[in-house]
């Protein structure tokens, strides 16, 4: 991270700054997506960039998700650095083949002759009554796919630094922006800086239990941790930041220290990120663990439109708190 001055900035604006500074620095970079131009994107992340960089480099497209990502793959094969916006992560199904069979594999299958330095930004996550096709957490769709990098910031400062690192990365990056975080605010360095990919952060130190969390679950975990302090439970919160390849070292070191862990992820439990982290922690900290790793996830269901029903499905701070307590109590 740079030592430049900081400014209180929203998550959205931090992303916008990253795109702006990236476009300024890298001639090979361009933006592509539906209504990202004059309109500035559905969530305003590309605002004003069309006016500044022009329609060639801030490129509106029709509703052609496969062609959008195909264009990014082809352009990146010849050294461009495209950054696509897929308006809602739910629509990644439309370009799943391009991501999984093309972007994620071409460096490998063509023996290193091509790289795919592209970034796919997309708005994910629930909590706003978006219904089954506008609320999904999709990291589980890509978790079992070697070759793809999955980045998932939880705060404005990381959002900017991770996005710039993703742009610099020579690997294809799926960059997840949780919709509920867009309005989050925080101090963000104003200059150009990168936050390393593949590296988790200790968001809060603690000694009794480790909570490994992603995206919106991070602020929830922090808030749960604060509240539990009063009960004498010292919670360490690890913000995973990169979901694939993930930073096992930081996670395992934390659990080795605390001897207990809870993993918190918004997606459905079965086959989700929590499963991978739980399995890994059990494998490597088997003798240190004082209780089984707790998993906090969404229920095994699509996400309904009704807000109270959605609330039932998605995990929240209370679920994290409950999992921490259960894990503490189960300790041998």
């Amino acid at each position: 991270m740079s030592t430049s001055t900081t400014k209180r900035t929203s998550f959205t604006k931090a992303l916008n700054d990253a795109l702006d500074q990236g476009m300024d620095r890298f001639d090979e970079m361009f933006l592509i997506g539906e209504d990202i131009g004059e309109m500035g994107g559905d969530f305003g992340v590309t605002r004003k960039l069309w006016a500044k960089y022009g329609a060639e480099r801030v490129r509106d497209t029709p509703l052609s998700e496969a062609a959008i990502i195909g264009t990014c793959v082809g352009a990146s094969m010849v050294g461009m650095r495209p950054v696509a916006e897929i308006m809602f992560a739910d629509f990644l199904g439309e370009c799943y083949d391009q991501i999984v069979n093309n972007a994620a594999k071409l460096h490998y299958m063509f023996d290193g002759q091509f790289k795919a330095p592209l970034v796919i930004r997309t708005a994910c996550g629930g909590g706003f009554g978006g219904g089954p096709h506008h609320s999904q957490s999709v990291e589980g769709w890509f978790l079992n796919v070697p070759g793809i990098v999955i980045v998932a910031p939880s705060n404005p400062e990381d959002a900017k630094g991770l996005l710039l690192a993703s742009i610099e990365s020579d690997d294809p990056v799926l960059f997840l922006e949780h919709k509920a975080l867009y309005r989050a605010r925080g101090e963000v360095p104003t200059g150009y800086y990168t936050t390393p990919l593949g590296s988790a952060a200790i968001a809060r130190e603690g000694t009794d239990i480790t909570v490994v969390a992603t995206m919106r679950m991070v602020p929830m975990a922090l808030s749960a941790a604060e509240a539990l302090d009063a009960d004498g439970i010292s919670v360490e919160v690890v913000d995973l930041r990169t979901i694939r390849p993930y930073d096992a070292e930081t996670v395992l070191a934390s659990v080795a220290k605390t001897g207990r862990a809870v993993v918190a992820n918004e997606a459905p439990k079965i086959g989700g990120l929590g499963a991978e982290l739980s399995a890994r922690i059990h494998e490597e900290c088997f003798s240190e663990l004082q209780a089984p790793v707790g998993r906090v996830d969404g229920l095994d269901s699509p996400i309904p439109f009704s807000v109270p029903l959605e609330h039932e499905i998605l995990p929240d701070e209370a679920d994290i708190t409950a999992a921490i307590r259960t894990t503490m109590e189960a300790s041998r």
Partner: protein
């Protein structure tokens, strides 16, 4: 067109307009969760379709089709208010509040539900049509797609498959000039969507989607063709949506004026009725009647209870229960 028929369609259009205007108001007041896309300005196209698709037919509505959904409900079951309730996420909604604006369905009135991954039902519609064909039913399977949605690859896969299998599909393309803020001519090789559809070799027709008489007639012709077993039909309705983007109006003033003042489907129908000798009073009565009815629906929706929490994990699978915690 006979006066009675035009009056019926006028009533339908007013139902849509009143529905969407009341909904917009409630949305702004925070009572409607999620996102909102309205069909304001497209009432003639919607009424032309809704009035001629039977309960035994099938339509896949798009995100602006609250009006079609409500009309289908009203016409075939007399419970249009359940569409409103669905938009409020209530237990009395057609999907008990689990679907919302973008996923309202009721197959008993022919409504097979929107898919908010816009255009995916261009593929789905093939299956309904194929089943009808295999069973010898004279069903029309209709996919209602926006001009922007035509960008999807499924457009090609669907039209091609409908063509080779001669399926009873009605493609109803609502060309309102924009996909969000992207003009149709910038998003597509042609601003006339029929140009992209013609290669598949079945009839393609363009119609003024704001002229209820023309739109109604075009739909009638297409449906007859399909019911006669002659295969798919593509209709492009030229229309315009009132709704801008979240930032507000983005289209040129003259364009806005043309569509909202000079070529509003309800005003055009109004003129036609006047020419037929229907009095202003009679027309106003229709308007008030529909506005009043919609207010009842709003009240119904608001007063309806939320779905029970047990609904949250119901129906994930048919064959398995999903744990509720």
């Amino acid at each position: 067109m006979q006066q009675d028929q035009l009056l019926d369609l006028y009533r339908d259009m007013w139902l849509i307009r009143a529905f969407e205007q009341a909904l917009e108001r409630e949305f702004e007041q925070g009572g409607v969760p999620g996102m909102l896309h309205t069909g304001l300005g497209q009432e003639a196209t919607q009424a032309a379709l809704a009035s001629q698709l039977e309960a035994t037919d099938c339509f896949f509505p798009d995100h602006r089709c609250h009006g079609i959904n409500a009309l289908a409900q009203e016409r075939h079951k007399g419970d249009g208010e359940r569409i409103m309730a669905e938009l409020f996420g209530k237990s009395t909604g057609v999907c008990s509040g689990k679907g919302g604006s973008l996923h309202s369905a009721d197959p008993s009135v022919g409504n097979y539900g929107d898919n908010a991954v816009e255009g995916s039902y261009m593929a789905t519609v093939l299956g309904v049509a194929l089943a009808a064909k295999m069973r010898g039913e004279a069903k029309v399977a209709c996919a209602i797609i926006g001009d922007g949605t035509v960008g999807r690859g499924e457009f090609h896969e669907s039209l091609n498959m409908a063509a080779i299998w001669d399926l009873p599909v009605l493609y109803a393309c609502v060309n309102n000039g924009y996909a969000i803020a992207t003009p149709v001519g910038e998003g597509h090789a042609s601003a006339d969507i029929v140009d992209l559809a013609r290669g598949y070799g079945f009839p393609c027709e363009q119609v003024d989607g704001n002229d209820i008489v023309a739109a109604h007639e075009a739909v009638g012709k297409a449906i007859s063709h399909i019911r006669a077993g002659k295969g798919p039909y593509f209709l492009e309705f030229k229309t315009w949506r009132w709704q801008g983007i979240f930032a507000g109006e983005f289209r040129p003033e003259a364009e806005v004026k043309y569509w909202r003042e000079d070529h509003d489907p309800i005003l055009l129908a109004n003129d036609a009725l006047e020419a037929m000798g229907v009095s202003q009073a009679q027309r106003s009565a229709i308007e008030s009647e529909q506005v009043g009815r919609i207010e009842e629906w709003i009240t119904f929706a608001k007063e309806s209870p939320n779905p029970e929490l047990a609904k949250a994990t119901a129906d994930v699978y048919v064959g398995w229960e999903v744990a509720s915690s």
